[in-house]
């Protein structure tokens, strides 16, 4: 109990700063996801038309993930300068694997019979995507987004190293000043942020499944929201 006192007092003293940086952190993630989702989903949809291209593209997105973030920033600075642009670019890259892969998987797992019925009813390829494939794939795509967000919450912290701001700022400062309280508290806030986003998006995923008529075990929040809207 005594051990935690300095952390709590640090948190209380620096609350305003922590809050501002958290907001900044969320902004970076929001911008990155705002770019990553349309790109990733479009790529995922396009590659679903050709299996060979699909495995190549997914392999490439996997390769992108193996590039260490620090190295990637180094490579991007000459092109995009310092600050948030190279960081956002890197975050978009890192989020492609889960988004593209899940979009592709979600669409390919739609039963052939379902798409064929759509075709037999006179749906164009676009309408099949809109009415059949994407709605069925949506919960799986959502799971991919969730995955991507968790990954980039952590990577974005490293972005502070090249001046992107966010909670990473406090961690790097803590390392420089050898301030253990600062490092621990910021890390906990960062983890809580990741867990909250994960939970929130998990609820969205469950709501989408419920909307599709699936029988699932519901989280408490899902249940509460669903009973209000249904």
């Amino acid at each position: 109990m005594q051990l935690s006192v300095p952390y709590v007092s640090f948190f209380v003293e620096r609350f305003d700063e922590i809050l501002a940086l958290t907001v900044e952190h969320v902004e970076i993630i929001a911008v990155a996801m705002g770019l990553a989702i349309p790109i990733g989903v479009t790529v995922g949809v396009l590659i679903s038309f050709n299996e060979r291209v699909a495995s190549t593209v997914i392999w490439l997105t996997g390769i992108m993930m193996t590039i260490p973030s620090i190295a990637l920033f180094g490579l991007l600075i000459p092109v995009l300068g310092i600050g948030s642009p190279p960081v956002i670019f890197a975050l978009v890259m890192y989020s492609q694997l889960p988004i593209v892969r899940n979009t592709y998987t979600g669409i390919s797992q739609v039963a052939d019979a379902q798409t064929e019925v759509g075709e037999g009813m006179g749906m164009t390829r676009k309408q099949r995507l809109r009415y059949v494939q994407l709605p069925i794939a949506l919960p799986v795509i959502m799971a991919g987004l969730r995955n991507a967000v968790i990954i980039i919450v952590g990577v974005a912290a490293i972005g502070a190293f090249i001046g992107a701001g966010g909670l990473g700022d406090l961690i790097f400062k803590g390392i420089r000043l050898q301030n253990m309280n600062m490092i621990v508290v910021t890390t906990v806030v960062l983890s809580l942020l990741a867990l909250t986003l994960d939970y929130g998006l998990g609820v969205v995923e469950q709501l989408l499944r419920l909307h599709n008529g699936e029988e699932i075990e519901r989280a408490k929040l899902t249940h509460a929201i669903w009973s209000v809207i249904a």
């Binding site: 075709e119 037999g120 009813m121 009415y131 709605p135 008529g213």
Partner: protein, 336 residues
């Protein structure tokens, strides 16, 4: 004069790997009739159906839809004019019942109110009260209810032609029979041209105005159920109908088909016969009768169970003919 709505002219479908799904098939379907394609699995019956809405493209020959070569028609328009029902998997589980039924009208860009009205009308026709079922998901329904939704969906845009690929195949026998009966009633009201695929000869005999029996990509007999039962084209058809062919005939033919109208009891009422002391078809319980539309199977059961030589065929109060064991024997194909 009835006109044909679908004509196949020497149609062959060969897949790129060389498999010939159907070979040199020709037949015509009259407007407003039900034609059943029946045969063992892999015989080409489903392919025939998919050629009509161009889910498969033919290799050679010609198919006409209402007089026009189907390859000259727009695929998408053609499909929207043809209702399509497959086994229950064909429903979209992620949509509600109403969204499923309203799908083709949505594609046709009807306005919202018109779609809603149409959906309610069809659900009521299918005996699925709209206020209870429109917002449910297919997974919440029973197999029979799902199949009804499938039929309602195919009817939504009021197509002239319906393709039904084993629509009742996944149902238990009791539900299947019930749905078949309901569907026959509905068909009598809506008067669509229906192409129906099944592997079940009993279903074919029950549903079809015409039956095409398939074997290895060819039609071995294309005829009315009665002709197929009484004059099977060859041993394959005979075998396909099964060893209980006589029973099937009995269940298929009605008392009206075989009755003897020349007997002197015709034209009288039962009370008149009683007053005249006629003993024919009478046992301790009174006269044994069947309606004109009842099957010969029922007539035969009454003859055996009632220990009489024959039964009276009635229409309302009046006797219109008689059926005896000898009449049955004479009319069943084996007796000829």
């Amino acid at each position: 004069m009835t006109s044909t709505i679908i004509d196949f002219e020497n149609v062959t479908k060969e897949y790129p790997d060389g498999t010939v799904a159907i070979e040199d098939i020709s037949f015509s379907v009259e407007e407003g009739t039900t034609t059943v394609f029946v045969g063992p699995s892999g015989c080409g019956k489903t392919t025939t159906m998919k050629l009509v809405n161009r889910l498969e493209e033919l290799t050679s020959g010609k198919i006409y839809y209402d007089g026009q070569e189907i390859r000259s028609l727009d695929k998408i328009d053609l499909r929207r004019n043809i209702g399509y029902v497959i086994q229950e998997i064909g429903l979209f589980d992620h949509m509600t019942v109403a969204e499923n039924v309203g799908m083709v009208p949505t594609l046709l860009e009807w306005d919202r109110a018109r779609i809603d009205d149409r959906v309610d009308e069809l659900l009521d026709l299918m005996d699925l009260p709209a206020e209870t079922y429109r917002d449910q998901h297919p997974m919440e329904l029973s197999g029979g209810q799902r199949q009804r939704v499938g039929v309602a969906r195919a009817l939504a845009a009021d197509p002239d032609v319906m393709l039904m690929d084993e629509p009742f195949g996944a149902l238990d026998p009791i539900t299947r029979e019930k749905l078949q009966d309901e569907f026959l009633e509905i068909q009598a009201q809506i008067d669509k041209t229906i192409l129906f695929v099944t592997h079940d000869i009993d279903e074919a005999l029950k549903m079809g105005d015409k039956i095409a029996i398939y074997r290895n990509g060819q039609i071995v007999q294309y005829d009315t159920p009665k002709e197929i039962l009484t004059n099977p084209a060859n041993d394959f058809v005979r075998e396909f109908i099964g060893s209980d062919r006589l029973i099937k005939e009995l269940k298929f033919m009605t008392a009206g088909d075989v009755m003897d109208e020349t007997a002197d009891v015709t034209g009288k009422t039962l009370s008149e016969l009683g007053a005249a002391g006629v003993e024919f078809a009478r046992n301790g319980q009174g006269y044994l009768t069947v309606e004109r539309s009842e099957t010969t199977h029922v007539a035969l059961m009454k003859i055996y169970e009632g220990h009489v030589e024959g039964v009276l065929v009635t229409e309302g109060e009046e006797v219109v003919g008689t059926v005896t064991e000898a009449d049955l024997k004479r009319n069943l194909s084996e007796g000829r």
